[in-house]
Amino acid sequence: MHNWPQALLGGALIGLAAVLAMATVGRIAGISGIASGLLYGGDDHAWRASFVFGLLSAAPLYALFSGGSGLGLPQVGAATMLIAGVLVGLGTGLSAGCTSGHGVCGIARFSPRSLAATAIFMIAAILTVGMIRHVLAVQP
């Protein structure tokens, strides 16, 4: 199972990818920005497509070498997953970044916008989970 050295190593690899994206093409490694720009008129489609292709290659390769899939399963029903997806898309689209773009890359370059966005989405997510699990008392 996961332990903190493995979590740190995973984080360091995400950081390495963020540094590589900036080093090679000068871009923020923000998944929502890269993927939404691929679908809806961003520049440099070829690089975006190859990045997403790499992201999609990760799970099969990981399974090949680790023996496990590394993929967890949804904890909530189909309707909630769909609603969550719309909110994640709308929210990251409006605020121009997600956990990677604001939470990792933005914080790493000390962007005030990203620090604010990360604090806000963390608090909103914590309140949402608290509301569901402890106020409405719905347990997964």
């Binding site: 995973g10 984080g11 360091a12 690899l13 963020a18 590589l20 900036m22 080093a23 090679t24 000068g26 871009r27 923000g30 929502s32 920005g33 890269i34 939404s36 679908l39 809806y40 520049d43 190859s50 292709f53 790499g54 999609l56 290659s57 990760a58 799970a59 390769l61 590394g70 993929l71 399963l73 949804p74 909530v76 997953m81 769909l82 997806g85 719309v86 909110l87 994640v88 898309g89 929210g91 990251t92 409006l94 605020s95 121009a96 997600c98 956990t99 990677s100 604001h102 914080i107 370059r109 000390f110 916008r113 604010a116 806000i120 989405f121 909103a124 997510a125 949402t128 989970v129 699990r133």
Partner: protein
């Protein structure tokens, strides 16, 4: 060369998410549930990522340009406006509902789970809605552009 760079970058990013346990929504919700059996994994992943990225960026920004392009593409927006705040709230609620953010859900496309496809589809619809909403006068005078596009 740029395509190879993009592919390798995406692959390393995805492996990092998998190794860090970010593709397991139970773990994410366990982190966000401060009043439950708190799971600190996500904090270690974000710490590990920022600790590598921050000095990496510092070193890279000493150069005038990246290796393969003429200039850095950094977000121009500088103000904390309502578009950023409202978007971050909506994203946080969506993340808290299911425990998936954009990177992990794309990596999880292989899980074969209907729920994952619904979230992916919803997210793609949400990105489209965001582009529409951003043209509304309520947001229009606000910061423009995505962090990357």
């Amino acid at each position: 060369m740029k395509l190879l760079a993009g592919y390798v970058t995406g692959l390393i990013f995805g492996i990092g998410l998998l190794l860090g346990g970010m593709t397991d929504p139970a773990r994410i919700l366990g982190f966000l549930d401060l009043a439950g059996h708190w799971d600190p994994t996500l904090a270690f992943v974000m710490f590990g990522a920022v600790v590598v990225t921050a000095p990496g960026y510092r070193w890279l920004f000493r150069s005038a340009k990246p290796w393969l392009e003429a200039s850095f593409h950094l977000p121009a927006a500088a103000t904390i406006d309502r578009r950023l705040v409202i978007g971050a709230v909506l994203f946080g609620v969506g993340w808290g509902l299911a425990g998936y953010c954009p990177g992990p859900v794309i990596v999880s496309a292989w899980s074969g789970s209907t729920g994952v496809y619904l979230l992916l589809g919803g997210m793609i619809l949400g990105w489209w809605l965001a582009r529409r909403a951003a043209r509304n006068p309520f947001f229009a005078a606000q910061a423009t552009g995505h962090a990357v596009s």
